[in-house]
Symmetry: C2
Subunit: 119 residues, 2 copies
Amino acid sequence: MEVVNINQKFSLFNEHWSPKIIGQLNGQDVKLAKVKGEFVWHDHKNEDELFYIIKGTLKIEFRDKIVTLNEGEMLIIPKGVEHKPIADEEVWVLLFEPSNIKHTGEVKHELTKERYGKI
Amino acid sequence: MEVVNINQKFSLFNEHWSPKIIGQLNGQDVKLAKVKGEFVWHDHKNEDELFYIIKGTLKIEFRDKIVTLNEGEMLIIPKGVEHKPIADEEVWVLLFEPSNIKHTGEVKHELTKERYGKI
């Protein structure tokens, strides 16, 4: 058992769009990501995904709307729902999702990470 | 899909030791709890449990040590590990855990909640 300080973990990396695993439980990962710019349209066929904003403002584009998430806000994106995160400035995000989730679903893109590092 | 503001959700209740569900995904719950005082010794036979501190300082007693969690820190307690949370002052906690988890495991206590409200 390890006490995990979220801000200390964020200090360990600067890469954008490269989620890092900070904890695992019940087949799920807790991940941290720094994001900036536009990500790629994708969905996760079998996995719901939780975004919780630690710092900054994240927009998430859906096919029918754009949702804005500010610090201290979270959104659960149900499986199968296409989305595209957009960050005008750097945003720090905590993710909670199944350990077997693929970064960009079935989409292959230069931003796609095949695996997640642990920090 | 609903944007959930954590602090706004905390403003909706004042009860201690009564976790409220604010989101569900992949068979897991995201819950919020306000806690103060001493809870009851218990474990969860089949469920790991994540504590993330939104406000205050939570001590968690284990059979062999006491762990202190401050704001912005999290701890994953593996299934089967006995624990007893203690809060000298009110603490606001976010919990991630399987939806079928029992509040105090197999222990029955006056603080035990048989079900969790949604807010």
